[in-house]
């Protein structure tokens, strides 16, 4: 039974990854057709140039080595070469090669470590955020489950009724067309109150902060997520994809 469930999960993950691949190729076609642009922050350019600095030096060195040698310099080096002992030259040559190789390896390691540190920082930030919410005794937890058609979707909502803010972890939701977004609803009694919108990252898990909801005077007991026009609507109009109560 466990084996069957594992096979089912692997099939779902494979389909999810194939969907992401398809979405990325579609996005590439759109980007190449429309030329849609978003200016990246200036510091990214700086990081790219810094990270390629070492490799650039090597390229320049290779280019210089490929250029025709200066005849006067060549004669001078030849004279020096005769004067110096062959053993010394070989020793320095070997040392130079070793040092270059070490330097290149060190650069690669630094780049790799920087990536790891960045990834770890992100994970620590996520974990800290979650821990801060979980430590707060006022925070209530609700688990939301998918309905027919989105049965693999899951979400966990941490809700602070005092600050009227929340944080939602959602996964398994299908990607939406650009003109649609998911909308979170908080139920006060039987009345749904809009509590923020979010987009799904092509079916992958998504962490969504829910900003302060001034219109929520009473603590909600039930939550739901529906598919709505981009930007959200005051009352639900689309299909409910997730629902659950706090406990």
């Amino acid at each position: 039974m466990a084996e069957g469930r594992d096979r089912g999960l692997r099939a779902a993950r494979a389909a999810e990854e194939a969907a992401f691949w398809a979405a990325s190729l579609e996005a590439e076609l759109d980007a190449r057709d429309t030329g849609a642009r978003i200016e990246p922050p200036a510091e990214v350019r700086g990081r790219v140039l810094w990270e390629t600095r070492g490799a650039g030096d090597e390229s320049e060195a290779r280019t210089a080595a490929a250029a025709p040698p200066d005849r006067r310099l060549a004669r001078m080096f030849l004279a020096l070469g005769v004067a110096a002992s062959l053993l010394l030259a070989a020793t320095f040559g070997a040392l130079w090669v070793t040092t270059r190789a070490d330097l290149a390896a060190t650069r690669e390691n630094v780049v790799r470590l920087e990536r790891t540190v960045k990834e770890n920082e992100k994970q620590v930030a996520l974990a800290s955020q979650e821990a801060a919410w979980l430590r707060d005794p006022r925070v209530q937890v609700a688990l939301l489950k998918g309905l027919e058609g989105t049965s693999t979707a899951r979400a966990k909502l941490l809700w602070n009724p005092v600050t009227k803010q929340g944080i939602l972890w959602a996964s398994g939701l299908p990607p939406l067309p650009l003109e649609k977004s998911y909308e979170l609803w908080a139920f006060v009694g039987d009345q749904p109150v809009p509590a923020g919108t979010f987009d799904s990252a092509s079916g992958a898990g998504t962490v969504i902060p829910i900003s302060r909801q001034e219109t929520l005077d009473d603590a909600p007991v039930k939550f739901a997520v529906s598919v709505e026009p981009k930007g959200g609507v005051p009352k639900p109009t689309g299909a409910i994809v997730l629902v659950g109560e706090r406990f």
Partner: protein, 187 residues
């Protein structure tokens, strides 16, 4: 074929760092827009953009103008790096989500993770459900990593025809994938 930036790339191969700066300025905004759209996270998009250009610098001499346009080549790198980032992010988020969901989510740990063979197998089976023309373009795109220009050349078809065929095939593949996810959820 669109050869925007090809002259800059030739200078980059020679180690010209000014050319690399101009190359970044030329292509980064379109690639960043693409990364933001598929990753839906500005910080991840920045990281992927950075990785894309660093890889482009290191592998500039491998670029073959006969196989792809400069922009197509850059997009191929960016999509590959974005997929890596998506997998990594999914792994982190899955761990957080499963922290106190005892049944299904926790079971979806290492044991439920799809291997690349699973994904290839899924795509292979999905392609069998497409028409011959659509199957041909997606097979070249997925299994051989061909750009749209390469596919057009291999199939001896106009680039526009290949693009529209690819779009249609991708829409069907996404529907098949969505149905497969639902099916797995029921099973």
């Amino acid at each position: 074929m669109d050869d925007t930036g090809a002259d800059l790339l030739a200078r980059i191969v020679a180690g010209d760092r000014d050319a690399f700066g101009a190359f970044y300025d030329l292509h980064a905004p379109v690639l960043f827009g693409f990364c933001v759209r598929i990753l839906r996270d500005a910080r991840d998009a920045e990281d992927v953009l950075q990785e894309t250009f660093v890889q482009a610098w290191r592998e500039a001499r491998r670029f073959d103008a006969a196989r792809a346009s400069v922009r197509g080549w850059l997009f191929t790198i960016a999509r590959s790096r974005a997929l890596d980032r998506w997998r990594s992010r999914r792994s982190v988020e899955k761990r957080i989500t499963s922290a106190d969901a005892p049944d299904l989510e926790r079971a979806a740990g290492a044991a439920g993770e799809a291997s690349s063979a699973d994904v290839r197998d899924f795509v292979e089976r999905s392609l069998a459900q497409l028409g011959e023309n659509e199957r041909a373009v997606l097979r070249l795109a997925y299994f051989e990593g061909c750009t749209q220009e390469e596919i057009a050349e291999r199939l001896v078809e106009p680039l526009g025809t290949v693009k529209s065929r690819t779009r249609s095939a991708l829409a069907k593949l996404r529907t098949i994938a969505a149905n497969a996810q639902k099916e797995a959820g029921r099973g």
